[in-house]
Every structure is written in structure tokens, then in C-alpha cells.
């Protein structure tokens, strides 16, 4: 009986302690580790020049300009600031205006971001094409597909 209580105490202390430590560690690194920068959070150009980083945002409407071959130029925006991206990589099937994207590459001195990888970000909304058509017809499409 005494042993059982001791084991219960061990696990009862171990589990909350580990959980608490993990939560504290996560809160501590939350500010220091980012998966991608939004254009407005981008550090100074000289600070990140030459380093591989990721930028996440939306493809600005009407900004996609195909160049020669696979070369494409487009703007990534968070509706506050905009970064021009240049890539020679193949674009994912979901890539288009107003699509959430994550681009990985380096920021040049001229402020143009040269992406070695372009990934399309899908949001949590699922919808059938008929519903999309119906929503667009009633003008309420934006409400349902607003990112975050």
C-alpha cells in the first residue's frame, strides 16, 4: 500500500513537472523561433542578407509576372508590407493570386527575395466547387475563405 502511494506520487509529480517544463520551454522559444517571417516582421536587410529564410504571406493580386522559362516574379504581401519575390523554380498547383504561400530563399541587397522554393499554404477550409460558385454569386465568398 505504501509503495503504491509512492509510485502514484512519483507519477503525479513527474507528469505535471514535465508538462510544465515543456510549456515553459515552448513559451520561452516562441518569440525566438519562427517558421516564416511575415513581410512586416522582416528584419533589416543587412541583418538577413545572405541567410536562407522563409517569408509567408499572400500572393498579391495581379502581381504574378512570368519571365523567360520558369522564371516568375510576384509580390508576397501581408496587406501591410510587400516583398517582391523572384523564382526560377516550378510553382505548386495551388499557386495563384490571393493564395497563401511560403517562400524559402535569400533576400538580395536590392530588396528582391530570390526564392529557391515556393510552397502553397492550404487553409483549414474545405468546400465543394459548387459551393464556391454559389458563394461567389452571392458575394459572400471572401467571408468564408479569409485566411486566419
Amino acid at each position: 500500500m505504501r509503495r503504491r502511494r509512492r509510485r502514484l506520487l512519483i507519477v503525479g509529480l513527474l507528469l505535471p513537472t514535465l508538462m510544465g517544463a515543456a510549456v515553459l520551454a515552448l513559451i520561452a522559444i516562441r518569440g525566438t523561433s519562427v517558421y516564416f517571417y511575415a513581410p512586416k516582421d522582416l528584419p533589416e536587410t543587412q541583418e538577413i542578407a545572405g541567410r536562407t529564410i522563409r517569408i509567408g504571406g499572400m500572393v498579391a493580386e495581379g502581381s504574378v509576372k512570368p519571365g523567360t522559362g520558369l522564371e516568375t516574379r510576384f509580390d508576397v504581401t501581408d496587406f501591410e508590407k510587400t516583398v517582391t519575390v523572384l523564382t526560377t523554380e516550378a510553382l505548386p498547383g495551388l499557386f495563384r493570386d490571393n493564395q497563401g504561400v511560403v517562400v524559402q530563399g535569400k533576400l538580395g541587397q536590392d530588396g528582391v527575395f530570390v526564392a529557391s522554393q515556393v510552397m502553397a499554404k492550404h487553409d483549414e477550409n474545405y468546400m465543394s466547387p459548387e459551393v464556391e460558385k454559389a458563394l461567389k454569386a452571392t458575394g459572400r465568398y471572401e467571408e468564408y475563405t479569409k485566411p486566419e
Partner: protein, 257 residues
């Protein structure tokens, strides 16, 4: 184990019926997605596998807790026998997610928080299985494996909230959100049926694996690949209070308690 036979039959029939219903519904009678098109159908395999990856681990944590505190042998064995099933769910989620990622995001893999934390869980599953097999004394192995299971449990909430904590490539939750499912009912129903099918399939395999282990114990042969010496012959009619299955190292200790 007089109950195991009907349980196995019922869960086997239910699994087959639900899997067939869910798969046919999902593949032929659900609409494509407005963005992802037909590739959205990977959803019905991927999402239940990902749920069961976390579900199986949670099952193992609870079983390990009961086994560790009350020295309940059947609970220890339940955790041990569930682990390979969880690992299979985990690998299935990673593989189908990778295929879906290539189609949707344009990459097979990316080190974002969700994918990385699920990969870590796969390693925890593997480590847990290896730990059980690397210690001959199964009573001792049960204690170490339970502690590993508790430590690994911190990864479960990390996986769940990884998509909200860090900006990730993986999308946030769709089905369980504060505003309700962000998915039409004609997609949600087959998804829930598939999830139920996976859950029932999990109970089938755990029951089957446990029954096999207990039969081996009863036969007094120990476990073929994992040596377990049995202090006294165990008859199956004795099983329901499962701590009656006394593994050798615990025999003297249990006498003192």
C-alpha cells in the same frame, strides 16, 4: 478471455463494414475540394491515421499509468501491444501526408512544427518498442517503458497545438474548432465514419494481440521472442483480475504489498 472471442468477432465485422462504407462513400460520393480538387480524398485516409497516432499514444499513457501505479500486468501488456499499432498509424499519417503535401504545397516534406513533432512521435514509438524488447525481465521492462511513455507524453499537446503555436505550413484544425467544422457535411460524415473504422480496428488489433500474449502465457511457454518466465501456471479463468498474472520478478514484491 471468455469475452475476447465475441469482442474480436464484433470488432472485426464492424471494422470491415465501416471501412468499406467509409471508403466507398469517400471515394465515389463526396465532392472534390474547390482548391485541391480530387486530391482532397487523401483526407479520408490521412486524418483518421493522424488522429489515431495521438489516440493510441494517449491509450498507452493511460495504460502505462495504471500499470505503473497499481502494477496491473494486463495494463502494462496493453500498452506494450498497442505501441506497434500506433507506430503503423504514425507512419501511415506521415506517408499519406507527404503525398498530399507534394500535391498541395509542392514539397514532399518540410521541417515545420507539425511534421517535425509527428516524426519525433514516430521515434518515441520506435524507442518504446525497442525498450520493451531490450530488457529480458518484462516486469522491469514495464517500469522503464512506462516512464518513457510518460516523458514522451509531452509531445502529444505539442503536436496538437503546433499548428497554432508556430506559423506552420500545415493547416490548422478543421473539424474541432471553436466555430464548428469548416467542412461541408457531405465530407464530414465519411471522414467521421473512417475515423470510427480506424478506432474499432485499433480495438480489434489490441484485443487480438493481448489474447495472443495471454494464450502464450497460459501455455507456460513464455513469450517466444520476449522471454517471460511465469512463476505459476496461469489459467485463463483466472485472468480478469489481471494482476494475477504474476511475472517472476514481481512475485516476491507483490507478496509484501
Amino acid at each position: 478471455m471468455t469475452y475476447s472471442r465475441p469482442i474480436l468477432w464484433i470488432t472485426a465485422i464492424l471494422t470491415l463494414g465501416l471501412l468499406l462504407t467509409g471508403a466507398v462513400w469517400a471515394l465515389f460520393f463526396t465532392p472534390p475540394d474547390y482548391q485541391m480538387g480530387e486530391s482532397v480524398r487523401i483526407l479520408y485516409v490521412h486524418v483518421p491515421a493522424a488522429w489515431m497516432t495521438l489516440g493510441t499514444y494517449t491509450f498507452m499513457v493511460i495504460a502505462s499509468f495504471v500499470g505503473y501505479v497499481w502494477r496491473h500486468q494486463l495494463a502494462d501488456l496493453a500498452a506494450r501491444e498497442a505501441a506497434p499499432i500506433g507506430l503503423v498509424f504514425c507512419i501511415l499519417a506521415l506517408l499519406t501526408g507527404s503525398i498530399w503535401g507534394k500535391i498541395t504545397w509542392g514539397v514532399w516534406w518540410d521541417w515545420d512544427a507539425r511534421m517535425t513533432s509527428v516524426l519525433v512521435l514516430a521515434f518515441i514509438y520506435a524507442g518504446y518498442i525497442v525498450l520493451w524488447r531490450s530488457i529480458d525481465n518484462q516486469a522491469q521492462a514495464a517500469r522503464f517503458a512506462a516512464l518513457l511513455c510518460f516523458v514522451g507524453a509531452i509531445n502529444v499537446p505539442i503536436i496538437k497545438y503546433s499548428v497554432e503555436f508556430w506559423g506552420s505550413l500545415h493547416q490548422p484544425a478543421t473539424v474541432i474548432t471553436a466555430e464548428g467544422p469548416k467542412m461541408p457535411v457531405e465530407m464530414l460524415w465519411p471522414l467521421l465514419i473512417m475515423a470510427l473504422a480506424y478506432t474499432v480496428m485499433f480495438s480489434f488489433y489490441v484485443t487480438l494481440r493481448l489474447r495472443t500474449v495471454l494464450r502464450q502465457l497460459r501455455a507456460g511457454r513464455g513469450l517466444s521472442s520476449r522471454p517471460v518466465s511465469v512463476a505459476q501456471p496461469v489459467t485463463m479463468t483466472d485472468v480478469p483480475p489481471a494482476h494475477d498474472i504474476t511475472l517472476s520478478a514481481d512475485a516476491d514484491r507483490q507478496g509484501k504489498e
